[in-house]
Structures are given as structure tokens and as C-alpha cells.
Symmetry: D2
């Protein structure tokens, strides 16, 4: 950690910072510049908090030298990770995808989506209950929904992936032998949930939208990983609300930071019409796959997305 | 709800929107302007979703006329609400406060904070375990922490208020007979938690930071309220991260939107040094009280905050 | 315009809104719903300001039905526009590009960039003086810089495009017979500059970064267009600062809103390394071309970007 | 400057960074930690740009140790500055204020505002032409407006302060002998304008809204100050658009960073109704004064604001 002192910091204030560093078992290097003094804390800095120093008199800023995420960082593992859900590889040579319903589905509409997925060569089916914002239309994902998803998937020979928001349902998930879990964006700060997911041996998709910063996303992944579950796939849902969007520059940036496979959800990010171009753009920028919301109202053209994905994959292959 | 069509919308597209409105049991009013057609849906619009219409061909925008929150809105109840925790009234004539530890406390440091609160005339003690970001310093609020809080509060004759993040602990909370619950900002989108809190008869403090929009905050309050628990206090924690801040303009705006009492957390928003001026500014702008984090490192001057609060209250009294 | 009244609005407040609408020569349609009254102003609403109504008692919100931009909107002209700089068509079948130096260039480094552009088949050269943030390294684009750009372009048989920030230099620009102008993002709110640019008959590139909202960008374009200059190209520079990024979802969204050609600046958005994938992704999402900053420190691989662009163009061609 | 290398940085990459630092005349200190190497550049770092290093291979981040603003920083001058416009002191013991019209005024409405200001004991009158967003209602501040402001101010015995957006009008400003200039928020990145204002000996008010970061605001002030004009007053206009707001926490933060006087514009930030409480809150948080927009539609209660200001000032006096 590096602690930058104010220009007017006194010797006593500097000494106090040094003492605090040493009390934590690290070594302090004091470097006096022309305008400011900079103190480096050398050693296992992950045990330190910048906030400890920033509240001390005379300190201007404290900042970590190492990232807060260790297991999921590209520095820890230079080569890309691959995570399988069922027999579908996320992070392999070919782009992967899963389809399903994220909002207002019934057993019938989910079954129709499953049939379309199967016909298109897909092997994974997900279901969730998004859109919890309206207090007068609250409809959580319950045990019956999980059972329905599990049955519909089995009927079509697909592997089920279920959204998880409520810790209390984790046992039901495990009993149903689902192929994977999907955590929606607002769950990335539910540390208790992340830690529990870290203890089970199931692939988990961590969704994110543009209100979650890259660093927060990776921290959430690290919370899962420290429990032992390294089967993590990141899924970018882009912008929520009015300004639909999907940032491929951030995606490229993220790929430099982590070895985890990254997929995108183009329907959430830009609507059904934009899905083919967003999917292709994201694959070009390094995404490993696509999650497709097929809720009835969205009228997604599945074939168009898959074609665009194939085109992008061949282009990526051709240009390295 | 109002649906604005594109300038190039066809009659068939307009008719489809009208049909969808009528299928939901509302009446449609079509108004053709010089450039665009506008369709009003008259009736119980809370059952409609703007997204249903925005995905239809020819639709430019759909927007609610009524707010999504009904019980907590100022329109529903013009006069201010008052919520008591123990015998402390939030929303009454005098400013209220609670103190405690939000981060790295032990039984000893919490007890020291309780003694300071008691000496300053306070009657409420809270405890939480914030700062979950670091995966290598994870320390959740567990049953033992709750028991410790409960005991320390009893020893000093204070009423305990506990942070709640983990739904699975709700039973322990109820057994311990705590005076109130406090939900941190990231829990405002954990609808399952909000709905459970809505079923119990305990005052609940809903914290928010600058990453939560006012409308989202009020929606979270509505989720609690629909369950029957109207004992809700809003608490603004200001900006998180580098740009410390507390927006008193938003606070005034919020007071126009809701009758719920609003308090602020000036230490979270601006650090211990800024706490007196932030507390006084917030009271002037209509806040009903203050939550004071007294974690050791922050070295909060409790007396200075209370004096500033008294001054602000008398100024507010003098100027209506 | 639509004016939504508060639930508690009185008849007198409603009448006052109606009177104000009629005083502006429009007709008012009053629609009383179960919870709120909504008033529509029918007629030439572009002369009205929402703020006029939102400051009146009893008014909850006022919002335009038509967009603030008329000339540049897709509604006004459904087919794509094409704008030529020299003989390079932006918005045609083939992707277009220009290269140059945006920051710390000398006559020598600019000349080197020009040679590389020429060798790669390019026909346009731009130069600017970005990076004005540091008060101790201030270096504006002056008349001598413009002359240098003009000469270097002529020496290599390229058409010059110059950044314009300072209204006082407009005469110099016109004398030098440059091929086009480029306005950096922070100039989009300099209305005086936009209006002057609207009076000349030169192609103008309006740059934008992620701190400018889509609506503001289009308003700036409309300010240029109302003066009579419709030769406008939009150029997205993505995110500035730490979080490099380029949002292809917004790009698709923008293409639905406007008929103007949209290009991107992938080096500004994501650095030289990411430029090929960002350029290809943006072309797939509907961009018409690319602006490449070739400042020495960035070490851009021009060939890699052009190859990626060709690949994306053929993919777009294949998939419609 | 501190340069943090990637964990996988090679010796050659480290050497290249050292060479670049030394080529700029600074000394490099290399500190090898357990996970990363950190290089400090000791000497006159204001000549360096972080971007130079961040584009080099093996570099994770580069960051300044000293701030980019020198003259306006609190470190450079610990005691508060005071700036006079006419005989009104901004930054003195008593709160200061100026009133006027910022949008759609005529000579008559401006004169009416001037009469109200005079009657309330005010001594300064400003005028501007905000609201340039609508291309179909464009109305810039021209020479005739400046003359009208000058005359109206003289008629009422007030000192005139005029908004400046257009560099070409600077000569008119100087001829009219105005008491001060006011630059609206979007001009903070118009460096050419800031530099010119830095050469004249007139007090200048630099406005800012919530889309300008504190650091950018101070950089703009530094651009003015390097030219020799240190008579700078900062004026916070709060949030623009829907989310009205004024952040008193940021204000306190800003006061720690700079010795310049800071005022607020509560009408812009929260509307006429909220102006008294926002003004009082801001004074408590360290603001030196208030700018009051008195455009007709806003119906500002001037006396209520002044009373609230007096109350806040006495409270601040009482509590130090």
C-alpha cells in the first residue's frame, strides 16, 4: 500500500503512519519528495484497509498496489479459464449460448422457449423472475418455479440453469440437481449469498449491469472463489433503464484483468432488435458466449443472433 | 399511463396499443397531434408495465402518470409520519439520533460507544458489520454479534438497533427483542428481504447512498409497506467512495415526495470532521435526525454534532 | 407537450396551466384520470419549455412529445445520410477512416503519421491539440499549427481536417481551405461555436464522449443544422478517464434516432491495443467509419485496424 | 509521480520506465514488493503526464503525488482568500450575495429585479442568458444585452456582473467597466476562455454543476490563476436536470482542498421554494455567499432567503 501525506504533514503524523504499518507486520519505506512525503507499506498488504490510513491526520490518500482480487485476476493465471455447464464450454474455441425466460413466464411459455432452443441446437435452458421493481406485481422465484424449470428442461433434453436471489432456496437448488446458477446484478453486493455459492460445486453465472463497476464485479467473483468454487462465468447485461447499451471497450478491459470467461446478455442490453449486432460485437471484443432472454414480448430472432455469432467467431478466428 | 407513438407509427400499430390497453381492463384515449399520436391509458394503471408497450412496434415511449409507490407517497398522506424506536420519536418536533458502531467493533469498543451515548443523553445503540468488500477480511454479522449488541445495550439501558443483511438471521432478530432493524444501502434491491421485513412489526431504517436513486429508495420502502409494516425511517448515507458528499437538495426533494421521516448518516457521508456541519445542514433541509457511526478510527466528536443539531433545530424553529 | 398534475392539484391550478398553453397559441386537452389529471398541449410545441410548467403550482411533470431535434432525427429523414470529406464518403457502403495526431505532435511526427496514412491507402489527415487539462502544459491549437497541418497534408496528397475549439480562429480555418472541421466533446455545449459552424459549408465532425448524453449530442448537431450546414458526422470517443470503454448498444440506439453518419474513435476509447476489436465491433453495430489517433506514444497498428474493419464490413454485408 | 508495474513486468519494462523518468530530469526510485514493483519519480512531477507511462508495456497505473492545481490549493495558502466585487466581500465574516436574471429577461424584468435587490440591501446585479439547449429558441448574450445590464445596474446604483460565454465579446465586457464576470458550468473546459479571463484584472465567478468533478473545477480555476488573475470565486449550481440537488458534503470537501471562496446558487440547484433551506445549509457547510436567480417564473422569496442566511450565519458564528 502507498500512503501519500499532505504537504503540511508533520513528522509526528508521518511517524504515526509508520507505526500503524509496522503494527500490522509490514515494513514502511518513507520517501520524502520536494512537495510531499510518500510512505510505502511492503509485505502482505491485503490485510490492510486504505480507510485506516485515510482517517489519520496528515494523510492525503492511501491506495493499494495489488488488486483486491487475487484468484480471479489475470496476473494470478495468465491463460483463459474454461467453465462447463452441462457439456457446453464457456471460454473454449467456439462461442457458447444459453436461452430462456427472465421475467414473466409460465410453464407453457417456458416450454415453447425450450422447444425453440432445442431446435436451434442449444443445450441449456435458464429461467428467472426479474422485474421485481413493482411492489404491486411482486412475483419471486419460488420452489414451484424451480421444479417447473427442472421438469421443462428434462422434457426437452436440456440442462437447467436457474436464477438465484434468495439464500433460503439454496437447498432446493441443490436437490433439484440444476446444471448451474445465475445471480442477477443486484446480488453482487450480497456477500452472504456469494459466500454460500462459493461453497457449492456448481457453475455460477455472475450478472452485472452498468451500475456495477468492473472492480466490484471482480470482487464479487473473488468472494465466490475464496470459498473454493472457481467455476465462475461473468455475464454483462449492459445498461439498465432508458439508455440501453453494451460497452465493448470495458469488455476488452475486463478480459485483461481476469482469466474468467465473460459472456453478454444482448437482449437485456439493447432489446431483441439489436441482439444480433450486440452479440457479434461482443464476441469480436472477446466475449465467450451469449445469454438470450426469450420472453414472449421480446420476439427475439434466435437464428439471426446465432448467425451473427457464427460470423463474428469466424472473423475473430481469421484475425487472431 | 401515457404511450407516445413514433411520428411514423401506422394505424395498425396504434390499434395494437389500444387493444393491449383494453385487454388489461383500462380505457384508451387516442390523441393525434401534428407530429405524433399520444395514447392515454385511463384506469388502474399500476397493473401496467411501460416495458410492455415500449417493445411494441411504433411506440416511442411509455410512462406512468402515477408513481410506483402509493403508501409512502406524500400524495397518499400529506402530513409527516412519525416513527418511534423505543421512546425516541423520528419525525417529531425535536431531532432524534442514534449512535453505534458500523464496522470493526468488539464487545469492548461497542460498550465504550454505548457509555458515550448514555453520557450524552442518547437512548439508542446500533451495531453493524459494514465493509464487506474485502474478500480476505470477510466478517458477517452473526448470531453472536447480535447477542453481544443486545447485552451491551441492556447493560447501558439503551435500546438496540441491529443491521440486517442476511434473511436467514431474521428469527434470531425477533427472539432477541431488538428495538429496530437497519438495512444497508445494497439491500434496497433485495426484494425478498424487504418483503419479510414488511411482515414484522418492528421499526426499520432503510439506508441509501448516492448510487441508489430516490425513486428506487421509495420503491424499496413501498415493498416494506405493502406487507403491513409502515414503521419506516429513511436514512441517507450520502456518497460512498472518494467523493464524500451529502445532497441536501435531494433531501428537500425527497421530503416533497414522501411523508416518511428522513434521517442522515453524516459520518458515512463526509467523515467525522465534517459530521457537525453535515448534520446541521441536513436538519435545516428537513431531516428528522442523525445516525452517528462511532467506530474507533473515526474519533467522532459527539458533543460537537449534538450542539450543531441543537443550533440547527432552533434556527429551523425560528424560521418555520 | 404533456403536463401531468399532482394528485392534489386544484381546479384553479389546472385552469392556470390551460391558460398558459392557450396564451402560447396551442390547444389544451384536459384528461381527468382516477388519480391525476393530465393536460396535453396540441400544436407547435417546440416553442414551449417544460420548465415553464414545472415551476407552476400543482404541476408534477411536463414533458415534450416531440424530440428537440428535428432536422437530424430519423423521423425527419428515414434514409441514412452520407457526408463526404474530400472524396471519402462517410455513411456509404464502404467503411471510411481518417488518421492523424490529436495531442503532442510536431511537424515531424505529423508528417510521419501522414506518410503511414498514405501508405495504407488513406486520404484524410487530421490534427488537434487535446489534453488541455494540465495548466502547466497548456498548448492551444494556433494559426501556425493550422498552417503546418495544411502544408503536411498537401505534401502527402491528403485532405486536412482540423480540430476547432476557439471561435476566433474560424477565419484562419476558412482561409486555409481545410477539408473539414472536428469539434471535441467539450465543445458540444458551446452553442456560439456550433452556430458559427452551422453557417459555413464545410463537413464537421462532432465528437462526443460518455459524459455527453445522446440527446445532448443530437441537440448540438441540430444547432449546427439549423444554420444550414447539414454536413455533420458524429464521432463517438467512448469513455474518458480510467474506465476506457465504447458502448455499441448506445451506437445502435443512436442509429435509430438519427440519419447522420456515426463514426468511432477506438484509440481514444480503449487504447491502441484494443483499437482493432473496438473498430470492428463498432462497424458491426452500424458505425460508418473510424478516426485513428496515431500519436507516437500510442503505437497504433494501423494495418491491424484496417484488416479488422474489412472483416467486419464483409460480415455486415453477409448478414444484412 | 508513482508508477505501479504489473506483477508480470519484466526488468526491461522497469528499466524503460526508469529511463523515461530520468529523460525528463527527475530521479527514479525503484521499490520491488512481494507482488509488484513500484517506481517513484522524484522531482518536478508537474511536467509529467500519467498517460505517458500508462501506455508503456508492463505499467499497471501511474498517478500524481501532487495535485494538478497549485495556486488555488489549500496547501499553497492555508488561510481563506477573500475576493471583492464592488464593495461586497466574498469570503469575509458576513455572507455575501448577488441577485439577477439568468434566463429569459427583458430590460423591464431585469429592472424590476434590480429594484428588489436594492430594496433588500443588495449591491450587485447579474444577468445571463442560460437555457441555450433549445435550437429553436437560441438567444445568446449579445452586446446589447451587456449594455442593458450595465445601464440598469447604474440606474439602481448596483454593480453589474455579466455572464461570459463567448470569447469574442471580451472587449465589450472590458469597455463597459463591469464589476465582475460569471462563467457558466459548461465553460469550465473552454481553456481558451479561461486563459483570457486569467489575463484581465476582474473578479470572476466560476460556476459548476454536478457534472463537473471537483478536480476539474479546481483545474479550471488554476487555468485562470496561472495567467495572474487570482480574483476567483467558485459557485456551485448543484444538479442540473431532474434530480435537483446541492451536495454540502462536497462543499466541505472542496473547502479543504482550496482557499478560494465558494458560493452556491440555490435556485438553480433546487428551485425557488427550496432556496432558503439550501442557502442556509450551504452557509453552515462553509459557503461564503449565495447567487440568486430571480427570473420571473421562479417567484423567489428574496426576504426568506436572506433571513435564512442570517440565521445560518449566526449559528455558524456561535459554533465556530
Amino acid at each position: 500500500m502507498i500512503i501519500v501525506m499532505n504537504g503540511s504533514a508533520t513528522d509526528a503524523e508521518i511517524a504515526a503512519v509508520v507505526a500503524r504499518i509496522e503494527a500490522q507486520g509490514l515494513m514502511a519505506h518513507v520517501s520524502r519528495g520536494s512537495e510531499r512525503t510518500v510512505i510505502g507499506a511492503v509485505g502482505q498488504e491485503r490485510g490492510l484497509e486504505p480507510a485506516w490510513f485515510e482517517s489519520m491526520p496528515g494523510v492525503a490518500r492511501a491506495l493499494r498496489v495489488v488488486s483486491d482480487y487475487r484468484i480471479v485476476s489475470r496476473e494470478a493465471q495468465p491463460e483463459d479459464s474454461m467453465v462447463r455447464i452441462g457439456d457446453v464450454a464457456f471460454g473454449g474455441a467456439a462461442p457458447a449460448w444459453l436461452g430462456g425466460c427472465g421475467h414473466d413466464w409460465t410453464r407453457e411459455t417456458l416450454s415453447a422457449a425450450a422447444a425453440r432452443i432445442k431446435a436451434a441446437g442449444g443445450r441449456l435452458l435458464f429461467a428467472g423472475r426479474g422485474g421485481h421493481d413493482n411492489p404491486y406485481r411482486y412475483r419471486p422465484m419460488g420452489a414451484a418455479d424451480l421444479a417447473a424449470l427442472s421438469e421443462v428442461a428434462a422434457e426437452h433434453g436440456l440442462v437447467a440453469v436457474a436464477e438465484l436471489r434468495d439464500l433460503r432456496l439454496l437447498d432446493v437448488y441443490l436437490e433439484l440437481q440444476l446444471g448451474g446458477l445465475l445471480l442477477p446484478p443486484h446480488c453482487l453486493r450480497q456477500v452472504e449469498l456469494l459466500r454460500e455459492v462459493g461453497r457449492i460445486n456448481k457453475p455460477v453465472i455472475l450478472q452485472r449491469n452498468n451500475r456495477v463497476r468492473l472492480g466490484e464485479w471482480l470482487l464479487a467473483a473473488e468472494h465466490v472463489a475464496v470459498g473454493g468454487n472457481h467455476r465462475i462465468i461473468l455475464c454483462d447485461c449492459g445498461s439498465e433503464g432508458e439508455a440501453a447499451g453494451l460497452d465493448v471497450g470495458e469488455l476488452a478491459c475486463l478480459r485483461r484483468e481476469t482469466h474468467l470467461p465473460v459472456m453478454v446478455a444482448p437482449v437485456a442490453a439493447g432489446g431483441a432488435n439489436s441482439a444480433p449486432i450486440l452479440a457479434a460485437s461482443a464476441l469480436l471484443a472477446g466475449a465467450c458466449g451469449v445469454l438470450m432472454e426469450m420472453d414472449a414480448a421480446d420476439m427475439l430472432n434466435l437464428q439471426a443472433v446465432l448467425e451473427a455469432m457464427r460470423g463474428a467467431a469466424s472473423l475473430r478466428h481469421a484475425h487472431g
